[in-house]
């Protein structure tokens, strides 16, 4: 049988090559994530595609039948369905990314320890976090893309290009939340913390960030608070693009906020994983 061992000389003479580039580091995990996706995509269809449709049907169509108000009171939407769909898609982006970066991250550290196995290779914590977040981005992107496509026949989009840009925004929303949730999951030692994240973070943001009603209904104080959350920026930008009611200066602020939260979050994710695993 062939030799199972290296016949390389020892030492630096054949290149004590340093770190991998971030791109190489992420690419080397492509086959892994592809395998994970092949194994899980069928199951994820139900949670990521079917349940949003239930929401649209229940709240947009059936509940929406009781809501007949002028477009001015619905941020310019001509129907409640048209109003709620962009909000639901933005919320879906947040939920998908939060789910992808809670239990799976803890599992890779604590339960099946796959991060430790990966770190025994030339990969570094930076590469693990990058690939994980890129996969989360893919999940958010694919889930939201299907959502947009399925909603198109309902006539809720004012232009063809609006939803295309809005799709990009939902990915920003996903990463604004996914990066920070990743950072948190890499820090906490018990999955009990996730209950808190879901109940005190995810659900209030889902309910009160303008997905279901214009936040002007909240009253001045709560409205100000809602406007500080990245979720509102995401919902607002998605909705303006879908309804073709874009105020470009507001849109710029929305986009910059989401981008900034994502960039700082990405950095926080890398930092917290390194702190957790490099001891």
């Amino acid at each position: 049988m062939a030799s199972l061992v290296s016949t390389q000389p020892t030492g630096a003479e054949h290149g004590g090559r340093g770190r991998l580039s971030p791109v190489t580091g992420a690419l080397r995990q492509f086959d892994y994530w592809l395998t994970v996706y092949k194994r899980t995509w069928k199951g994820s269809i139900v949670t990521s595609f079917a349940s949003p449709l239930f929401y649209v049907l229940a709240m947009g169509v059936l509940l929406g039948n009781y809501i007949h108000v002028s477009p001015e009171r619905l941020d310019g939407a001509t129907s409640y369905l048209a109003f709620i769909v962009p909000g639901l898609i933005a919320a879906q982006a947040m939920q998908t990314s939060v789910f992808e970066t809670t239990y799976p991250v803890m599992g890779a550290i604590k339960w099946h320890k796959s991060f430790y196995a990966q770190l025994a290779t030339p990969l570094e914590t930076r590469d693990l976090a990058n690939a994980f977040l890129l996969f989360t981005l893919f999940r958010v992107g694919s889930t939201c893309a299907v959502y947009f496509v399925v909603m198109a026949p309902f006539g809720v989009f004012a232009t063809w290009w609006g939803p295309v840009l809005a799709w990009g925004v939902t990915m920003l929303v996903g990463m604004a939340f996914g990066t920070w949730t990743f950072a948190l999951s890499a820090t906490v030692t018990s999955e009990a913390s996730f209950g808190l994240v879901f109940r005190l973070g995810l659900i209030p943001l889902f309910l009160f960030s303008g997905s279901f009603f214009p936040i002007s209904n909240l009253g001045p104080v709560l409205e100000t608070i809602a406007k500080v959350t990245p979720m509102w920026h995401g919902v607002n930008l998605t909705r303006m693009l879908c309804l073709d009611t874009v105020d470009w200066s507001t849109a710029a602020i929305n986009a910059v906020v989401l981008l900034a939260v994502m960039v700082v979050g990405w950095y926080a994710a890398l930092r917290s994983l390194a702190r957790r695993l490099e001891s």
Binding site: M1, L4, R17, D31, R39, Q118
Partner: protein
């Protein structure tokens, strides 16, 4: 700039590791040469795994010098890890992937081309006798099979040095022997092995040279035979008396050997002629419940050096 390196694969001088106030490794010197099987023998908590993690270039040293394959782990971690094989103490296999995919995916982390990694995976499955299990899920494997798969995984990059942290802990005797056989074959192929273990028989089976570690320091170093010669006698007479009698009895026979150790369940008398010790014991009218004469082992070396047994 080309520096000439001898056959030293791993070199540590005054190597230390602390976790907060806890000092796990308190300044050790080691040198591992190409092609040798080097062992760290010591009880749980001796600092073996901490040392191993530093050698694996995944845990930064707190002090001292460490050079692996002529490189500095603080600077060249990825380049070092590219040439190491690591078999960790706990299985870190991906339980949701099948046997073959575990090897395939892992090889890809090293940047090995797809066709090449497939060929290597098949070859390694044959080597660890898991070819028939190639499509089985990892969770369905026995403990011994998982260990063998982990070893196969650690060989996917054709490493210069293979690090094995407690490779057979938790395995039944048959699985252990099968694993030892595979490791022995690797050794014959010239793989440099670094093994930690708290089993003296494992150290004797596999290690050409070893250090006895206790409480973060190296207590002794040498080949298993040298250590036994230096720190123990040729033979040991083991005597078992009724519970509670051991201390009193030990005093009566203290002169029969070079040394007498009292353990909770037996007395050990160190002598070059164990049978003679037994005769003398009986000659003094003592009636042990059970007796055994055996050769000295690394367990005795450890007992001598630390006053404690390896597995407690």
């Amino acid at each position: 700039m080309v520096e000439h390196f001898s056959d030293v694969m791993i070199r540590a001088r005054g190597l230390r590791k602390s976790f907060g106030d806890l000092e796990a490794v308190k300044g050790i010197d080691i040198e591992v040469h190409k092609g040798e099987a080097f062992g760290f023998l010591g009880p749980n908590g001796a600092g073996k795994s901490s040392t191993m993690r530093m050698i694996a270039a995944v845990s930064p040293a707190s002090g001292g010098e460490l050079s692996i394959l002529g490189m500095d782990p603080a600077k060249d971690g990825p380049a070092i890890r590219a040439r190491l094989g690591v078999c960790p103490q706990e299985d870190t296999l991906d339980v949701e992937l099948n046997v073959f995919d575990n090897l395939y995916i892992y090889g890809r982390y090293f940047g090995i081309p797809r066709a090449e990694v497939r060929a290597r995976a098949e070859e390694l499955l044959a080597f660890v006798q898991l070819t028939e299990k190639r499509t089985a899920k990892v969770e369905d494997l026995s403990g011994g099979m998982k260990r063998r798969l982990t070893i196969a995984r650690s060989l996917i990059n054709r490493p210069d040095v293979l690090l094995l942290d407690e490779p057979t802990t938790g395995l039944d005797p048959q699985a252990r022997h099968l694993l030892w056989d595979r490791l022995f074959r690797l050794k014959q192929q010239g793989v440099t092995l670094v093994i930690t273990t708290h089993y003296m028989d494992e150290a004797e089976q596999l290690a050409d040279r070893l250090v006895v570690m206790d409480k973060g320091v190296i207590a002794a170093e040498g080949s298993p035979l040298e250590l036994i010669r230096q720190y123990s006698t040729r033979e040991v007479a083991e005597l078992r008396f009724p519970v509670g009698d051991h201390d009193a009895t030990a005093e009566k026979i203290a002169d029969l050997g070079e040394r007498v150790e009292v353990l909770p369940d037996r007395i050990l008398v160190y002598s070059d002629d164990g049978e003679h010790v037994l005769e003398e014991v009986h000659g003094r009218g003592l009636r042990p419940l059970a007796t055994l004469v055996r050769r000295s082992t690394l367990e005795d070396v450890f007992l001598r050096l630390t006053g404690r047994t390896l597995v407690d």
